[in-house]
């Protein structure tokens, strides 16, 4: 009897042990194939001299590509721009997103329409956004110059994207506009999860609107904000499509960022060894930032 009853039990427990792995395997395999394999390949390529138009020449050079990158003026220019790019775009998007979310959380007529409209910049393809803003910034026909000239704020049309002093800032503004709806929607969802009773209790205790925001709203959405900032940090750091379409990294190196530089090296100059080395260096730098951020904010939120 015992012998008979034990076998199905044993089978069931074995099934329970194996089944999760069996079900996860396809996903893991796909991830390995499309994420980890190319990652390893990139790391492997970065240790070789590999210029695509000399397909038979794949020579081991060790860390030479990395040394070359660290001695490359353009690498440092691009790194500086990447840091400016991340340190301004993300806070600007967060702030704008927060304000938008707070506004959209108020009761007003046509609120659902406003909530739907706000998502448009986020829903548009990057290339469309880039081309649209190229026209806005155009020094001959652009609406930005037209508007500022008519307002009397500038005396001469400014070539926003052709002037190295304004090019990066102009692109940052574009990306802020593109990315803030993501924050707005995420924060709005967070706002709606805060029970109304907290605010009622606070106002009975005589807390001002600011106090309510500081002690109820902000802690209530901090978890959402942390996740959103993390995601956005990785996306913004890696995004170069908007820059590529708007200026191609120019004028000169004025809008070069590291991912764009790696892309140009690999795809336009076909120097895959060097391009991969830049990509690997950037991945390592980004990993440091992400780990540091997670440690700090993890503590703060908990």
């Amino acid at each position: 009897m015992t012998h008979v009853s034990e076998t199905p039990k044993h089978r069931a427990s074995l099934g329970r042990q194996v089944l999760p792995y069996a079900m996860l395997t396809p996903a893991v395999l796909v991830t390995l194939a499309i994420v980890f394999f190319p990652m390893l390949q990139t790391a492997w390529m970065s240790l070789h001299e590999y210029v695509l138009f000399r397909p038979n020449d794949f020579t081991w050079v060790g860390l030479d590509n990395f040394k070359a990158a660290l001695n490359d003026e353009v690498f440092w220019i691009s790194l500086k721009h990447t840091i400016i790019w991340m340190c301004t775009t993300i806070p600007a998007q967060l702030l704008l997103g927060l304000v938008t979310a707070l506004l959209l959380n108020q009761e007003f007529p046509w609120r659902p329409v406003a909530r739907a409209l706000i998502i448009i910049p986020w829903a548009l393809p990057s290339v469309v956004i880039a081309l649209m803003w190229v026209w806005i910034y155009d020094s001959n026909y652009g609406i930005a110059n037209e508007f500022l000239l008519r307002m009397g704020l500038i005396q001469q049309a400014i070539p926003w994207l052709a002037d190295p002093d304004t090019a990066l800032a102009s692109i940052i503004l574009t990306l802020t506009w593109q990315g803030f709806p993501f924050f707005a929607v995420m924060i709005l969802a967070g706002l709606q999860s805060i029970p109304q009773s907290y605010y009622e209790a606070a106002s009975i205790d005589g807390a001002s609107a600011w106090r309510q925001f500081w002690h109820i709203t902000l802690p209530g959405i901090s978890g959402v904000m942390m996740t959103a900032v993390l995601l956005r940090m990785i996306w913004v750091a890696n995004s170069f499509d908007v820059i590529f379409v708007m200026t191609g990294g120019g004028p000169g190196y004025a809008t070069h960022t590291l991912p764009l530089y790696a892309f140009i090296k690999a795809r336009t100059n076909l120097d895959f060894g060097y391009g991969s080395a830049i990509a690997v260096l950037f991945t390592l730098l980004l990993m440091v930032v992400v780990v540091f951020y997670l440690k700090r904010t993890g503590k703060a939120v908990s």
Partner: protein, 404 residues
């Protein structure tokens, strides 16, 4: 074997379904700026004459044409035939991506009908023939005769005259304190090396491979920088301006001169009527330099059916078809008979092209040329224009690139 069996089954099925089946397919890549391109008509005409061949022609955007072509070659997904320019040939040959066409060419009747010397001009770096010319252009100076007349100016023939003319043409026409017309539309983005080269490479002893860092070489780049920074005769957006911008600004009357080829002549006439004309580029530093804009077709070495691909590209370079092809691109036919009956462009633009031919040159037959065109020139020129580096540094970087 498996693939063949599958293809066999597929064709049988197609036949059963009463559909037309083809024995081989030629995948062809090309780039046309013209939105209403007649490639479909050419393909239909070819397929009618060659019912056993299907042509899949794909228009690839110019800006990423070579990026896509190179990566497709490496990725093993190259087209069977493609439109190609001379500057890409050394690199494509080095990649082993092209099929030599010498034997086919020797047997082809149409070869004698091509313009003289074109086959010789397009020879590969290793002496073999890979390219079959399909169209050509020569860059010249576009100008606005009405503006010249209004200001009593004549077409500049030297760089000094050019500078004075450009300064006179740069003006505020409505008195609002804003410059409304700029003397010259300079192309500072990718593809603008031909503008810079006109001002720089005309000088004696200066070419991309030698003399670029000499006094005369640096003076050319300095001349371009001065036109922008001191004289302000280029629109402020010049460092980023590409093909669309320079042509758009000229058509809109924002610029009074620019350099391009006959390909944009009809569009300009449509916008400006008789108020646009053309002349050879000015002489700079004692000589003239303008670009011979070539375009050929080639069979890729990975072509599934190279014979079919060859048939298709020769089709494009034969009498009548070559006219049709060039009507779409707005360039000039390579077939003699088609040139003689050519009526697509107003005579003044054909004349400017013919007058420029004697001093038209091509970029060096070197694998560094692609990097020069795609990144080294635009980046360094933009840095010079925006005051980031000195002209001498730009010339040194270019010389270094070609010396590698």
């Amino acid at each position: 074997m498996k693939f063949k069996t599958l293809t066999g089954i597929a064709s049988t099925l197609a036949l059963c379904a009463g559909m037309a089946s083809a024995d081989s397919t030629v995948r062809f890549w090309y780039h046309f700026d013209n939105a209403d391109n007649p490639m479909d008509a050419l393909v239909a005409a070819f397929e009618e004459a060659n019912p056993d061949i299907t042509v899949e022609a794909e228009n690839i955007p110019w800006n990423s044409y070579y990026d896509q072509l190179y990566t497709a070659v490496i990725g093993g997904n190259a087209p069977d035939a493609a439109m190609v320019k001379m500057f890409a040939q050394p690199r494509l040959v080095e990649m082993g991506a092209l099929a030599p066409i010498d034997d086919w060419l020797a047997d082809w009747d149409g070869a004698d009908g091509l313009q003289d010397n074109l086959i010789e001009l397009t020879k590969g770096p290793d002496g073999q023939q890979y390219y079959l010319p399909v169209q050509y252009v020569v860059l010249y100076l576009y100008y606005r005769p009405d503006m010249f007349e209004e200001l009593g100016l004549s077409v500049p023939t030297t760089c000094d005259e050019f500078r004075e003319t450009a300064k006179a043409l740069t003006r505020d026409t409505d008195g609002d304190g804003q410059t409304d017309v700029y003397g010259f539309g300079f192309r500072g983005a990718k593809g603008g090396h031909d503008h810079w080269a006109t001002f720089t490479l005309g000088a004696e002893g200066v070419s991309l491979t030698e003399g670029l860092t000499s006094e005369a070489g640096v003076a050319g780049t300095q001349f371009v920088a001065d036109l922008f920074q001191q004289d302000g005769v280029f629109p402020p957006s010049a460092p980023n301006d590409g093909f669309q911008e320079i042509i758009g600004a000229f058509k809109a009357g924002k610029t009074a001169m620019t350099i391009h080829h006959i390909g944009s002549a009809n569009g300009m006439v449509e916008a400006l009527g008789d108020n646009v004309s053309a002349a050879p580029v000015p002489e700079c530093g004692g000589g003239r330099w303008t670009a011979f804009g070539d375009e050929s077709t080639a069979v890729l070495s990975s072509a599934e059916d190279p014979e079919a691909a060859w048939k298709w590209i020769t089709f494009l370079s034969t009498e009548g078809n070559n006219t049709m092809f060039n009507e779409a691109t707005g360039q000039l036919p390579v077939v003699k008979a088609d040139s003689e009956s050519w009526t697509l462009h107003p005579q003044r633009f054909v004349q400017a092209t013919v007058d420029s031919l004697p001093f038209a040159e091509m970029l060096p037959n070197s694998s560094a040329t692609a990097d020069f065109v795609n990144t080294a020139w635009p980046t360094n020129m933009q840095r010079v224009l925006t005051g980031d580096i000195e002209p001498a540094e730009m010339n040194a970087k270019i010389e270094e690139l070609f010396a590698e």
